[in-house]
């Protein structure tokens, strides 16, 4: 139960890359988008934040690089307390925090190369240096051959890969992903998730993703926090939270994710095929059902009818 509604993330001292302490964001009009959130993200890990739209996860992500300034609380990234910095210092600090977006937010007026070179140019790199580094980043995402094209000539998945290359161009230690796969089809989503995994393992970049898709969390995250009404209602290791969801919101997410998985429909058949005892199989299905999985309803109805026929 360590994960359920726990107030903190267990991170070894000195190993944390991102730390939010009692961070709150209140918008004009009194809307509390984020309410007293503590968060600690371990260096080199992938942290997922899930929640329905309006839960405050998007605001929370923007509090990490201070695109939104917190009303109260402090934000520390890479050992530097961002909330104490002035505008100019903050701009420098942001070069160490890449960000990608649901709608990619590429510059339409610039080529692929121009997009990726932009953050380098404006942080003081020479034209030649920016070009070299941008091509390097494009090679990493597999798009160096498209350097001269414009964003509108690329597919959604390619655009997001350009977005990733642009975010990585300045070699940041942190990458923030704002619903990065929500505008993509399942196949492309897998490709982008695979790329993000490489960003994490090969480049050692600490990643924070916000998403409403549980499968994104299960695919790449180590830890997950579930948000509702501006608060973190549950958090922990992904497998832990996923297998024993405590909060109704988490349970709803897990349920939705299970529904989305075609494999589960095969489960009753598989249990039977592998000679699992009927009582055990029923118990497994009943437990899944208790968690809200309705995958086996047709199967069960059929079996119930059979049972009734036998007992009659």
């Amino acid at each position: 139960m360590s994960h359920s509604s726990s107030r903190s993330d267990a991170v070894t001292a000195g190993q944390e890359m991102i730390r939010l302490d009692a961070v709150a964001k209140e918008f004009p009009g009194g809307v509390r988008a984020v309410d007293a959130v503590d968060l600690a993200v371990e260096a080199g890990s992938v942290y997922g934040i899930v929640g329905h739209s309006g839960a405050g996860k998007s605001t929370l992500l923007r509090l990490i690089n201070l695109l939104e300034r917190p009303t109260t609380g402090s934000v520390t990234v890479g050992g530097q307390e961002l909330t104490t910095l002035g505008e100019r210092q903050l701009r420098t600090a942001r070069r160490d925090i890449g960000m990608i977006f649901q709608q990619f937010n590429l510059f339409r007026s610039r080529t692929v190369l121009g997009n990726v070179a932009f953050p380098l140019r404006q942080s003081g790199s020479s034209r030649a240096e920016a070009r070299t580094k941008a091509l390097e980043a494009l090679r990493f995402v597999g798009l160096d051959e498209h350097a001269k094209r414009y964003p509108e000539q690329l597919s959604g998945g390619q655009r997001q890969r350009v977005g990733i290359a642009r975010a990585l161009a300045t070699s940041p230690r942190v990458l923030l992903c704002d619903e990065a796969t929500s505008a993509l089809d399942p196949q492309t989503t897998q490709e982008v998730l695979e790329l993000l995994r490489r960003v994490n393992t090969e480049l050692g970049v600490t990643i924070v993703v916000i998403t409403h898709e549980m499968e994104v969390v299960t695919a790449i995250c180590d830890r997950v926090a579930v948000m509702e009404d501006g608060r973190v209602v549950e958090r922990g290791e992904v497998h832990e939270v996923f297998t024993r969801p405590q909060h109704p919101t988490t349970q709803a997410f897990v349920r939705a994710a299970l529904h989305a998985s075609p494999v589960l429909g095969l489960l009753p058949g598989l249990l039977r095929e592998h000679g699992v005892d009927a009582a055990v199989a029923d118990s497994v299905l009943a437990q899944l059902d208790a968690n809200g999985t309705e995958f086996a309803s047709a199967e069960r109805t059929e079996r119930n009818q059979r049972n009734q026929a036998v007992s009659a």
Binding site: N65, L67, L90, R91, T92, A93, R94, R95, I97, G98, M99, F101, Q103, N105, L106, F107, R108, S109, R110, F118, P119, Q122, S123, Y150, E152, R166, T170, L176
Partner: protein, 220 residues
């Protein structure tokens, strides 16, 4: 009595040249000042990168006061100021001043409205990269809005041709002046016809140029 063509032609050619000169000079200055005012309007509006209510309201009020004044009236009102600044209120050069004043505020609104059309996400991406606010304005917003901006400026250019003719009737030179002095006052329909043809030609050329440029910028 109607003048001979060999007397008229040089006048027509000169007048056309003056019109082109007035229009282009005005376009140049109005683009410079108007872009500055437009950027200021955009940047200081609510949620803008340099949000500042006082500056925004003042500028916006100024634009709204000046823009509805008919061109003809504006030139007359600005006469004393024109004389002060340009030394004279008559002639092709002098009239560039009032034309620039009026056009600047038109350009300002064109620039502002096209900048508003830029995806806010693009600005957010630039901010996340640590781009300074002034760089966001100049190296992100302006290039992103350039396609529709060129079309807006083409509209302005055509309006300026029209405007220059009006200016020509109250002291400015160009085909407007020619149309009044020779076409209207001397009842010379041929001059009127030539004037109209020149204007149609100029407008066509301006629109063609604008379309070509915007196509190039938009890559369509």
């Amino acid at each position: 009595m109607q003048q001979d063509w060999d007397v008229l032609w040089p006048k027509i050619v000169d007048a056309a040249g003056e019109t082109v000169y007035m229009v282009l000079a005005t376009l140049l200055f109005a683009t410079l000042f108007g872009t500055a005012v437009g950027l200021a309007l955009y940047a200081t509006r609510k949620g803008g990168v340099f949000q500042n209510r006082l500056v925004f309201v003042t500028l916006s009020f100024l634009v709204n006061v000046i823009r509805p004044v008919p061109a003809l009236i504006a030139i007359v009102i600005l006469n004393p100021l024109t004389r002060e600044l340009m030394g004279t209120a008559v002639g092709t050069d002098a009239v560039i001043f009032p034309m620039t004043v009026i056009a600047t505020f038109g350009v300002a609104r064109i620039v502002e409205s096209n900048l508003v059309g830029v995806e806010p996400g693009v600005i957010e991406a630039a901010r996340a990269m640590g781009t300074s606010r002034i760089r966001i304005l100049l190296t992100v917003l302006v290039p992103e809005a350039l396609g529709p901006l060129v079309l807006g400026m083409t509209f302005m250019l055509v309006a300026l041709i029209d405007f220059s003719v009006i200016a020509g009737t109250v002291g400015g030179g160009g085909v407007g002046n020619l149309a009044i002095t020779h076409g209207y006052l001397r009842f010379d329909d041929r001059v009127m016809a030539v004037t109209v043809l020149i204007l149609i030609g100029l407008v066509q050329a301006a629109q063609l140029l604008g379309n070509m440029l915007s196509r190039k910028v938009l890559r369509r």
